[in-house]
């Protein structure tokens, strides 16, 4: 459910970066913030613990400019990946328009990826949403790890039917960061155009 403000002629979308702890969700937002020049972005807000783990969320507003005479904006959020912050994760999903699932390529995180995806499905259910109904892509992050699992292996666990667009990334080097964002945004916009 995108927020449309007819009088101010604004369309706003909410995108959420989801995934297990330390998979690189905050890194994505930080990199986007660094690479978008001044007028395209607002302030980044991070609610985090002292050791830089996300406690509630990160937030970054992006301003696309005018499309069809409407000021079009994307609000990017990350959730805290650590298992015990589930109540925060659930709150952040309210009104979500699109999801980037950030998976970790480390072998010892395969299970955490799968558990986080299951947790995402459960939390969406709270809002009567199913993952298949929400524009959704997978970013397979940390491809630079020497012992990174094969993409096929990660896909087999997260998307056995191979129906979800996926992108390889090294988020900390700004590789594969723009592509999933663009892909999910396009899906979100197409969904809106279909409904209109």
């Amino acid at each position: 459910m995108s927020t449309i403000n007819f009088s101010a002629r604004e369309i706003n979308f909410k995108l959420v970066y989801y995934g297990p702890g330390l998979s690189g969700k905050t890194t994505n937002l930080k990199q986007i913030y660094e690479h978008v020049p001044g007028d395209g972005k607002g302030e980044m807000v991070s609610l985090q613990t002292e050791d830089e783990r996300t406690l509630f969320f990160d937030f970054l507003p992006l301003d696309l400019g005018k499309v069809n005479g409407f000021k079009t904006r994307f609000h990017l959020y990350t959730v805290p990946g650590q298992v015990f912050y589930n109540s925060s994760r659930r709150l952040i999903l309210r009104g979500v328009d699109g999801i980037v699932f950030v998976a970790d390529s480390a072998p010892n995180r395969l299970r955490a990826n799968a558990e986080s995806l299951r947790n995402l499905r459960e939390n969406l259910e709270e809002y009567n949403l199913r993952l298949g109904e929400v524009p959704y892509v997978i970013q397979v992050n940390k491809r630079d790890l020497p012992d990174a699992l094969s993409v096929e292996m990660i896909q087999a666990v997260l998307d056995p039917s191979r129906s979800v667009p996926h992108f390889e990334a090294v988020a900390s080097e700004f590789k594969g960061v723009v592509e999933p964002l663009k892909a999910v945004s396009k899906m979100v916009l197409e969904k809106l155009a279909q409904k209109a």
Binding site: M1, S2, T3, I4, N5, F6, S7, A8, N12, K14, H35, V36, P37, G40, G42, E43, V45, F56, F57, F59, P61, L62, L64, G65, V67, N68, F70, T72, H75, S87, S88, L91, I92, R94, G95, V178, L181, K182, S185, K186, L189, E190, L192, A193, K195, A196
Partner: protein, 167 residues
């Protein structure tokens, strides 16, 4: 059909703006905003004398998240919600009231306002706003979006990361 979180358009929008402006005058507050529960600003007003506000996007997101966290805390104790949310610093404070089920009315004030008045007039404004919103204001405007819309937006996305290309 698309569903905006509040039916804010045309005459209703103007009436809503007028209620917010009036609220600012009555309790001598700096800013009044309507924020939806997803954290988007729907309408805002600033008193003529007030300094430039901080980023309204950040403010709206934090107010909405804070509100949803407060509701979750209340529910832990079997309450539906806490009755009021006041935050007060040495000089600046915020007062938040629910506006229907999908939005919040936020009043930002400073030492020149009395908290009692802020609460009273914010509560009154909620009543007037709900009246304005409940009135029949005709069908919502339609949004004409075609395929070109998502293509144009995609081009703008490229522009966002430096490669400025106008659609």
């Amino acid at each position: 059909m698309l569903e905006p979180s509040l039916d804010l358009y045309g005459e209703t929008y103007e009436r809503v703006e007028a209620v917010l402006a009036d609220l600012l005058v009555k309790c001598h507050a700096r800013y009044a905003l309507i924020v939806d529960l997803k954290g988007f600003v729907l309408v805002h007003q600033r008193a003529v004398w007030a300094p430039k506000p901080p980023s309204l996007d950040s403010l709206a997101t934090l107010i909405a998240s804070n509100h949803s966290a407060n509701v979750a805390i209340a529910k832990l104790f079997g309450e539906d919600a806490f009755r009021e949310t006041v935050q007060q610093g040495a000089d600046v404070g915020t007062y938040v009231e629910e506006l229907g089920t999908e939005a919040l009315l936020v009043t930002v004030f400073d030492g020149s306002a009395a908290l009692g008045k802020v609460k009273l007039f914010t509560k009154q404004a909620v009543v007037r706003l709900l009246e304005a919103l409940a009135e029949d204001h005709g069908p919502p405007p339609t949004l004409d979006l075609d395929e070109a819309f998502s293509d144009d937006a995609a081009k703008l996305f490229d522009g966002l990361f430096g490669k400025r290309t106008q659609p």
